[in-house]
Each structure stands twice: as structure tokens, then as C-alpha cells.
Symmetry: C2
Subunit: 420 residues, 2 copies
């Protein structure tokens, strides 16, 4: 992941890389009472913050999304509690009550107002949370908070991810060194249309709520909204960011040079985490950057990129390491963007596969060599205008479908718990 | 497939079931010169016709689609030539020249004007047609035309289909018995948005071009536009219909009772063929009717049905015989239709899986029994208005992706033929 900020450096850690942030995680046995994996985590700022968030645009929203939306609208959030193993979605009034209980328990232990706490859940949809196992863990979560446990939160929120995703940088803004770090989880229900997963970011930069909100929305649009694994958008997707000013810098002014540097660094962190999600998508074998150039408008470029990146046939061919351009151009055709077939060029990396809508003369072996790499770029030039867009996509594998055939085991556990 | 027309009877055959139609097919070795399977077919009306067609809305259109569109616009079509094994799509001026050569050769042998001939191709995209093998077959095609070879055309047009699809009915209109018959092919790149395959229908009813065109568009909307296998829309999709009046009936009047009967019978034939396509979709194991009820508008109902029927996660769960309603409601949520989560009911057949946005009390074993059947109906009631819509969908299987991983074999043959 390249960035043009000379002062930006990658540093260790994730949500506790910035000053004044603490974290903790424990095992509540949410999915399976006998398991010992971390599944509930807490993030806490020791000092007051500014905060911002972006939530799923799915019209079916999980209870924690509904509750957190109201909290982020009016208050500065100081703590975030998050669990995996159950999404607390489509759980009605009971689900809202459960989310509130989580928030109130955290607020009580931390001496905060409930509305200073954000809450997130991820996992299976439609089953009530096993609150009898969740509630008793809150005191231990608060008790074990420290500035070195960011990785435990990263571990507690993953579901079908095969590994944790953390990333942090430091960057100089207005003469002060500032840290931005975060963690995220995927790995199914990932599609480019706002935040299709959980992501928590902390920074010790100093910003007003308004400046932070603007930067967050712009950076989400350029990162999490540009990734796709399976084209499904979840009911729980959330990005939350807390800024506590503990770097000691003065407040970053709106539209200043410092503000631009912060935005670039934040986007770099979000894009790095977003790309990690795609690479660790469910049973993914390829990371494909789909670049669209030469569209008449930004929206046309976006339509083309998303149609190609979500086509089951295109994704199957990537899984087969087949540098197929016929399926790509057919997806371009049904994208509803304004295109002219005879102007379309398609490249695998720098090699043309299709020029002017026709098979190019690149030897097939060269194209196949590119398609056999773990990561490659497909560039589609519509040659009609100046707008461009890019999406970060994966292949679709037989193993993805195998993996997603059944959630019956979740239901069986919920039945054992007397919840359904 | 039920219909309410008392006089409608299923009869044997397909495109030659109606009077005055002939057909033939031969093997041109288009995909593989050593193979002997039928891959090029001809349909011919011995008498003048009215004709109508519906073509793909993909902006990348195959050469035969472009050519046939101009022919159908202005002329009554008497003959249709169709090949499988190569789509003649993204083949530029050479592709148009090749489609014209096919049309002119047929017209020459049959003593027709070229614009009285329709042409279709289906198969791989982006490789030129092996015209040296196609052109020499035309005289034999014309020579062997007869009224019993409809099934040979049905066989010649299939690609990844596992069997041929033919269907024919007779129905009484204005005191005359009329026949309508056809054949179709799938089986990948199937999505609900006009004609996602090839379908040829013939009838000995007597209609003006205008009446036939109106009936065709209405029936396509209610049949082929309502099926989805993989959500991909092809560059070649075409429905063609020829009516030659050989039943001896007088011309069907616009908006008459006879016209309504014809339309119902035509829709029955198209819907039967469309559903055959889904059932024989690439590596499909389930046929799922997705019914949406209670939407505020027709468009809302359609958005919901299509989002559910095209969700990779929903389709994976059907493959796993998992009566998952959480994934269905999440797709309802991102469909952009106006919904209220707490009003949504979801049934598998007549058993509620979700009521008012929450898990219903139906025992899981009963739902699983339904989801384990080869065909079942999922009904989504939004409980907001009176509009409804239904889509015929399949599951998505690991074997679909395996099957679609590579088209390299096609390219190797084209290279051997000196075409690329």
C-alpha cells in the first residue's frame, strides 16, 4: 500500500497504538459455551474524545447498529464493546434490550453515561444473544483494560476470517507526531456499498467532531466501499473512529494542510485494512484490483467496476486462473454504463487482452502467467471520457460455497441454550 | 406448469409442432472438428410469416444479435439459422461479416432475401467463428429440412445444458385449433433481465406483426425475464417467434378474446421453457420460486425478488438445504426496496420461518424437510402494499464454479484453427 506522505511510518499494533487508548478481550462462549476463543472485546479512551462512524446502508439493521447510530449522532463516544459469534440482527425488541444491557453494563463499570458507549455485534442473523454468558464478562473486560491488548480485540471480533487484521501508522501533522491505528474483520457479506464489516480506529490526533466525521465519510468511500468479496451487504457493517487528542497537538483546522495530511493517513489505514479483508475473504485465492478508466462519469466508472467485480462468471474464471476477457466485457455490457464496445481495451497488468473490443495479440501464455499470480490488476479503459474508479475484488471459489452451505450448527446451539 | 385455458393441451415436439414449419441440424465441428454432435440448426417456414423477437439488453451485443435486430425490425422472417460452440461476440467487423455470410448462404439456398433470415450464435465470447467448417454445411441443412426434425435443432443449440428443452401445445382460438411450440437453451449467464438464452418459437396461428410483437414482449417479461441462475446477462440472448397462419384461422384481432387466449398459451409455452432452463442450470440442484408479496410497488417487489434470488449467500444456503431466513432478510434489506423490517414474513412453502422480522416458531426439522426438496417456494411478504412479483431461481453450487473456471480449451482449438 503506497502513500505519498513522506512522514508516514508504519508502527506496531492496532487500536491501542495511539496514546490514551486501552483494550481488553475475553471468551464468553457466545457461539459455543465450551470454546475458549476470545469473542468479546472492549476499546476505551482514558480521555474525552471526538468520534465518528459509518454504518451499513442495509435497510435491515442489527440492534447494535440502531443503538450505536443514536449514540454517535449526539455524543462523543469513549468506549466500544463488540462481540462475534452472533450478529444480534432480526432479534426485535429483545435484541435492542440486549444491546442496551451490554452498553449499560460497560457504562456502569467505566463510570460513563450509556450514550458514551458504542456497541457492535457480528455473526449469525436471527438468533438472540446468549446474554447469560455475555453479561458476566463485562466486569472482567473493564478490569483487564490496558494499552497493550489491542490485538486481543482484533482477535475477538473475527468470525470466518483466518487471521486478525491490525494496522497502525504514525504521521507528522503541524509539527506533532500523531498515531492512527485500527483493526477490522471480514470476511463474508462483503460488497462495495459502505462498510461491509466491523472496523475500529483510534487516533491521538486532535479534531472536532465535524472535521472527524467529514474525513471518516470520505475515507470510507475510498476504502471499505471499494471492496467486494461476494456482493452481499451485511446488516451489521460498521466503522467507528475515536480521536482523543493525546498527541498533544492543537486542534486540526478544517481544510488546512494538517487536515489533508490526517485525511490521507486515515485513508491509508482504512484502505490497508480493507484490502486485508479482501485477501482474507472466505476461501479467496486471488486479490484482483479492477481499474476502470476513460468513463464518461464517475458513476459510469463505478457501475462498470462493480459489475465486473461481482460477476459470478468473471470471479469463477479468476479462480481458474483463466485471463478471460470475454466474460469481463459481457459484464461491462450489462453494467448500464454508457459504453461503446468497439472502444473498450482490457489489460491484465500491462498486457492487452482486448483492444478495441477485440482479442489482442498478446500471447495467451503471458496472460495466463499474470492470472496465475496471487494478486493482479485488470484495467478496463472505456476510452470515452476522463472518469475513473477502482474496486478491490476477490475470486469466487467452490470452497466459498461449501463453506456457506449451512448455519444449522448455530441454530442447534441456540436451541441448546433455550433461546429458540 | 398450470394454466387456466381449458382447451390447451400439450402436444409432442417443439419448433416443428406447428403446421408449415421444417427444421434440420448437422454437425459442423464448431467447438471441436473431431466431434460429431449437432451444432448448427435451421428452422424454416414453408409459407410467409409474421415475426417478432426480443434481444439482450446487454450493451455489448454479439454480431448475430446486431444483424438479426435489423432483420426483425423491417421484415417478416422465414428462416432462422443458429449455431452453438461459439457466440460470435466481440468479434468486430469479421464477426458481422461471418453472420452475414451465414444469412446469405441460407437465403441463397432457400431462395429468400437475406433480410428474411434470422441468425443466432451461442458459446464462447471473443473468438472468431470457424467459417471454413460452418459454410459448407448450409446446403446439407437446407436439403435435409423436414417437419419432423424440430428436436435436432433443440439438440444443436445446447451448450452446457445437460439435455434438450422442447415444449409444444395446441389451443383452440376462435373455433380453430392452433399450435405453438418451441425450443430453448441455457444454461449459464442466466439472469432476470430479458432473454438470457436462445429460444425459438413457431406457431400456425394468424397474427399481424404488431399483435405478435406486443404478445411476445409481454410474455418474455413474464417468463424469461423472471429466471436467474447466476445473475450474469449474456451478449447473445434472443427469443424469436414466427407465425405462419397455417392453422387456417382468420387473423387474430387486437385486444380480442382470441388474442388473450393466444397470449396466455404463448406465455405458458415460454414460462415452461424458461423454468426448464433454470432446472437445467449449470450444476444446479434446486429450483426455488421466490414470491414477493405486499410490496408498495411492482418495482419494489421486483427489487426484493431479484436481490434474494441473486445473493451468493442465499444461493449457497439453498445448496446446503439450509432453510436460512437471516440471509434472505439481509438481501431484502439491501435491495433498495422500501421495507420495514418488523413487518416482514418469510415462508418456506406454507411454513413460517420468520414472522414480523423475527424467528417464527416452526420446528426447524419441518423447514429443513422443505429445503431438502428438489423444488420449493420461498414467499416473502413485505406487508406494506399490494404489489407482487415472482422469480424462478436456482442454488449456486461448488460445482458451478468448478465448471466455469476456465475456457482455455476453446482458445486452444481456435489457435489450432489459426483464428487467433
Amino acid at each position: 500500500m503506497s502513500t505519498t506522505l513522506p512522514s508516514l511510518k508504519r508502527i506496531k499494533g492496532g487500536v491501542t497504538a495511539a496514546r490514551g487508548f486501552q483494550a481488553s478481550a475475553v471468551s464468553a462462549g457466545i457461539k459455543n459455551p465450551d470454546a475458549t476463543r476470545l469473542d468479546i472485546g472492549l476499546i476505551y479512551s482514558t480521555e474525552p474524545t471526538s468520534s465518528a462512524a459509518a454504518f451499513t446502508t442495509n435497510r435491515v439493521k442489527a440492534a447494535p447498529v440502531k443503538l450505536s447510530q443514536t449514540h454517535f449522532r449526539n455524543t462523543a463516544i469513549r468506549a466500544i464493546i463488540a462481540n462475534s459469534g452472533n450478529a444480534n440482527a432480526c432479534t426485535g425488541l429483545q435484541g435492542l434490550a440486549d444491546a442496551k444491557t451490554m452498553v449499560e453494563a460497560v457504562a456502569g463499570e467505566l463510570k460513563l453515561r450509556p450514550r458514551e458507549v458504542g456497541v457492535c455485534s457480528t455473526g449469525v442473523i436471527g438468533l438472540p444473544l446468549p446474554m447469560t454468558r455475555i453479561e458476566p464478562t463485562i466486569p472482567a473486560l473493564v478490569e483487564t483494560l490496558d494499552s497493550k491488548s489491542g490485538s486481543d480485540v482484533a482477535a475477538a471480533i473475527i468470525t470466518s476470517d483466518t487471521h486478525t487484521k491490525e494496522y497502525a501508522v504514525s504521521v507528522e501533522i503541524d509539527g506533532h507526531r500523531v498515531r492512527i491505528g485500527g483493526c477490522a474483520k471480514g470476511a463474508g457479506m462483503i460488497s462495495p456499498s459502505m462498510a461491509t464489516m466491523l472496523c475500529f480506529i483510534t487516533t491521538d490526533a486532535t479534531l472536532t467532531k465535524a472535521t472527524l466525521e467529514k474525513a471518516t465519510l470520505e475515507c470510507v468511500e475510498a476504502s471499505f466501499n471499494r471492496i467486494t468479496i461476494d456482493g452481499d451487504m451485511s446488516t451489521n457493517d460498521t466503522v467507528m473512529i475515536l480521536a482523543n487528542g493525546q498527541s498533544g497537538m492543537p486542534t486540526i483546522k478544517r481544510n488546512s494542510k494538517g487536515c489533508r495530511i490526517f485525511r490521507q493517513a486515515l485513508q491509508h489505514v482504512m484502505l490497508t485494512l480493507a484490502q486485508m479483508l479482501v485477501k482474507d475473504g472466505e476461501r479467496v485465492t486471488k486479490f484482483v484490483t479492477v481499474k476502470v478508466k476513460g468513463a464518461l462519469t464517475y458513476l459510469d466508472a463505478k457501475k462498470v467496476a462493480e459489475a465486473v467485480a461481482n460477476s459470478a462468471l468473471v470471479k469463477s474464471s479468476w479462480n481458474g486462473e483463466d485471463p478471460n476477457w470475454g466474460r469481463i466485457i459481457h459484464a461491462v455490457g450489462y453494467s448500464r454504463a454508457r459504453i461503446r464496445e468497439e472502444l473498450i481495451d482490457i489489460h491484465y497488468e500491462d498486457k492487452p487482452a482486448c483492444l478495441g473490443g477485440l482479442q489482442a495479440e498478446t500471447p495467451m501464455d503471458q496472460l495466463r502467467k499474470i492470472a496465475s499470480k496471487d494478486a493482479f490488476t485488470v484495467t478496463i479503459n472505456l476510452n470515452r471520457g476522463k472518469a475513473d474508479y477502482e474496486v478491490y475484488a476477490s475470486d469466487l471459489s467452490p470452497e466459498y460455497i461449501d463453506f456457506n452451505r449451512s448455519e444449522y450448527a448455530y441454530w442447534k446451539q441456540a436451541r441448546k441454550d433455550g433461546l429458540v
